[in-house]
């Protein structure tokens, strides 16, 4: 089996337009959640989110590209450009043929759907732009990344709701580890902050009207975000041979299904995924120093997640640091695990643990060290990233310092 390392990272999200800006915001515990700005927002009961404000697609893409790129595709491309630039790779010949893209998304081109449904149903138009289908399809982002970077190996999209990115990165990890591919671009992208996207979530009555406060006793729901994270996963010897800077090693991955309820999380399913990732990476429980939590800020997720961590890590649960960065960038749904992996890399490389901001009151059912409100300096060797999706689908990644 091959070793798999990360040699490039890219992002755009409510905290920053690139990785350095995002990490700085995470270190400072800044909140990127604010009033939403889009058409018909006044008809929503939920009006806050981690929206990327002041974003101007025309400063990154030409007119023909914008006609084809939904906002979620644009985010994926911007993150991929940053990641590939950092890696120093360019893809030609054999390397292009054995490198690919696996990206997560949940809603795909939801803005495109929203705009075009509005046009035909509300405005009564009988004609839509000819590129609606290639713009809204869930694989559009992965395909455009493969086209722009000349990645000609396996390329596809994974949709497992809020775990999409972690599933995508886990599959990319397995493909490089098995030797099937030399390099995979992986992560995820989401842009659901439009009238229809938020209205649908509102119906479930799990959204907060004021703030995301993971693990805090007074938490009252999740807050949506948007954005993308993309990484270069590269076979270790390949990276070493070219003298690439290695950000971290991906060492373990596991996925499980609760097989029980379509929305309520299960402690057992989550714990099995954590335990599975440790087993896959041959990691001792005592080695785990930090967990980037799924930590949505809902009543159900946070207590179930803490119980699962306690079950899976045993006594180490009392020592491990666990934080949810969703209170800063919002829940980026199918892109969230990819944005959150930045906090894992920061923990390993910089020795800085991103905080759980918005934490106000201890909850006896979330009695772990949640790194409340302020970032902390700490040396850690192994970190986990949790993602537990609607549908009962769980995916946990393990990273190690190189």
């Amino acid at each position: 089996m091959k070793r798999v390392v990360i040699t490039g990272a890219g992002t755009i999200n409510a905290l920053g337009r690139d990785v350095p800006a995002t990490l700085e915001a995470m270190r400072e515990g800044r909140c990127g959640i604010a009033e939403l700005e889009f058409r018909d927002v006044e008809r929503l009961a939920i009006r806050i989110g981690g929206q990327i404000k002041g974003y101007e697609p025309e400063s990154h893409f030409n007119r023909q590209q914008m006609a084809l790129y939904d906002r979620f595709t644009q985010f994926a491309l911007l993150a991929a450009r940053e990641a590939v630039a950092q890696s120093g790779l360019s893809f030609h010949g054999d390397l292009a043929d054995c490198s690919g893209v696996v990206l997560g998304t949940s809603g795909g081109g939801l803005n495109t759907q929203d705009e075009n449904y509005r046009s035909v149903y509300e405005e009564g138009k009988n004609r839509v732009h000819p590129f609606v289908v290639p713009k809204l399809m869930n694989n559009a982002a992965a395909s455009h990344v493969s086209m722009e970077m000349n990645l000609r190996g396996p390329t596809f999209t994974v949709a497992t709701a809020c775990a999409s990115s972690n599933h995508a990165m886990g599959l990319a990890f397995q493909m490089v580890r098995s030797g099937a591919c030399s390099v995979m671009l992986t992560g995820g992208s989401e842009s659901m902050l439009c009238f229809g996207g938020v209205k649908a979530w509102e119906g479930l009555r799990v959204m907060s009207k004021d703030a995301c406060r993971p693990f805090s006793a007074n938490r009252n729901g999740m807050v949506q975000g948007e954005g993308a994270g993309v990484y270069v996963f590269e076979e270790y010897e390949h990276a070493r041979a070219r003298g690439a800077e290695i950000l971290a090693e991906v060492v373990g991955f596991a996925m499980t299904s609760d097989a029980s309820d379509i929305v309520m999380p299960s402690k057992q399913g989550a714990a099995r995924a954590i335990t599975g990732a440790l087993r896959d990476g041959r990691i001792g429980r005592d080695e785990v120093g930090y967990i980037n939590a799924h930590g949505t800020g809902t009543a159900a997720n946070d207590k179930t997640e803490c119980a699962a961590v306690a079950d899976a890590l045993g006594g180490q649960a009392d020592r491990v640091m666990i934080s949810s960065t969703k209170a800063m960038h919002g829940h980026c749904i199918g892109g969230t695990g990819a944005v959150e992996l930045l906090a894992c890399i920061m923990a390993l490389r910089d020795g800085v643990i991103a905080p759980t901001i918005g934490y106000e009151e201890p909850d006896a059912e979330c009695a772990l060290d949640v790194v409340p409100n302020e970032a902390r300096e700490a040396e850690v060797d192994v970190v986990l990233s949790n993602a537990f999706a609607f549908g009962g689908l769980n995916a946990v990644l393990a990273l190690r310092k190189v």
Binding site: A45, G203, L204, R205, V206, M207, S208, K209, R219, N220, G221, I262, V263, M264, T298, A299, A300
Partner: protein, 86 residues
């Protein structure tokens, strides 16, 4: 039908019971209505009475809307109707 009978009809449908099996003292738990069933019932109630019910599944006990029994739900809806159609 009065408010009470209309609410009972909605709850009975959600619980797959006859309206006569739903009493004012019944709790949602008694009727086998889970969290998704509750959210669906509230949606049906909002549609039926053209009102907006302030309910957040994360903090049911802190909502103004008391869901501890059919009686409290009916009382809550009657209050909302008088407030929101006033």
């Amino acid at each position: 039908m009065n408010v009470k009978d209309r609410v009972i009809a909605i709850i009975a449908e959600q619980a797959v019971l006859e309206p006569s099996d739903v009493t004012m003292e019944s709790t949602l738990d008694d009727l086998g209505i889970d969290s998704l069933g509750l959210v669906e019932s509230i949606f049906a109630i909002e549609e039926e009475f053209d009102i907006s019910v302030p309910f957040n599944a994360n903090e049911p006990e802190q909502s103004d809307f008391d869901i501890s029994s059919v009686a409290t739900i009916v009382a809550g809806i009657e209050k909302l109707i008088s407030e929101q159609t006033a």
